[in-house]
């Protein structure tokens, strides 16, 4: 028995979008100028707030690595049909979800500015978390029905 294809496709799409988003911010950070403060919009405020780094590493870079890993794990599952890959990916999704939750709170209550790219990332990591849970439930159901047989 296989895990629902729709779930896997959503998982692939969300991790890919998340990767594009985080990779863009990473490239912008290492190549671009310091984002100036515009009359409207809050990206500069967020991206230069001091909270854009963890242990001296850019959060955007960590995000890009995280999303790429999930994406590759999902591809590995699709090509090999080994469930361990997708289960690993699903089990990793709470990391991104909790990180995103933290960053949304920071933006709303501490930095008091909203960055569009960070919000996209919050959306993709939430989608990944929800899909991840469903994948695990799906897998458990299958295991249980196997045991019953």
């Amino acid at each position: 028995m296989k895990i629902s294809k729709t779930l896997i496709i959503i998982f692939l799409a969300a991790s890919f979008i998340g990767f594009l988003d985080a990779a863009y911010l990473t490239v912008q950070h290492y190549l671009g100028t310091v984002p100036p403060c515009a009359i409207t919009g809050g990206c500069a405020t967020v991206l230069t707030s001091g909270y854009q780094k963890i242990f001296g590493i850019q959060v955007a870079l960590l995000g890009a690595i995280y999303y790429l890993t999930l994406f590759l794990l999902a591809v590995a599952y699709l090509t090999s049909s080994r469930k361990i890959f997708i289960l690993l990916a699903a089990l990793a999704t709470p990391i991104g979800f909790i990180a995103s939750l933290w960053f949304v709170c920071l933006q709303l209550f501490v930095i008091k500015a909203i960055c569009f790219y960070c919000m996209i990332s919050a959306l993709t990591s939430t989608t990944l978390f929800a899909t991840g849970i469903m994948i695990i439930i799906n897998y458990r159901k299958q295991m249980l029905s196997k045991v019953k047989e």
Binding site: F19, L20, A23, Y24, V27, Q28, L31, G32, T33, V34, P35, P36, C37, A38, I39, T40, G42, A44, T45, T48, S49, G50, L68, L72, V75, T79, S80, V110, A113
Partner: protein, 241 residues
Amino acid sequence: MNNYESHRQEKLAKEHIARKKRFIYQIALWFSIIAGIGLIVGGMIYFVARQNLVPTNSLATIESALASDDWVKGNKDAKMVFIEYSDFQCPACAFYYPLLKKISEEFGDNLAIVYRHFPLPKHQGAKPMAYAAEAAGKQGKFWEMHDMIFDNQNKWAVQSQSKIKDIVVEYAKSLELNIEQFEKDFGSKEIEQKVEGHYREGVKAGISSTPTFFLNGRILQNPKNYDELRNIINQAIDENL
């Protein structure tokens, strides 16, 4: 028996070919995925690098003559005039602040660095800080206050609006200013109008973000780092000679 054996071998060979095909398919798939990701990242790098080369508003200019009440670091009569429109609460402005300090040390009397206010409406602390710097300026310590405000930006920027005044009075005390005078100037119409005037001039010049730099009246694309900024100024000096 023989028949069975050959049949079995045929089956094995078929399986072998199928496995080989699958293997090649896997390699091709992974190769294209990695190549695709490489292309995407490469494309982004190209896009971002190009974006930095094209000036956003290269035609924007500003009168390079100094106003009598401008705050100038370096030589007032220098041929090279570097005007900064800045917001004390903007993190990007705080990033450029030590760079400009270093520039002023390096170029000394060959350069006039001018600070003008462009407090963005979304930064609630930017205006009071601009007033504080101006009020300190009335007692001859504009740049000292300017430095103090930027040095502590991440501390006061997170404080509530109501605490800002206490904070600037603290700063004024540590700069040994006459506090009574400072408080009077801090709330004065004159200073408020000066800051407002800078802002309006900036809007007229087409400024939409901070910091915005002008070198001899011409707008600059914000440099990435100290070396780039230094090169821009050096180049302008060479052209002017």
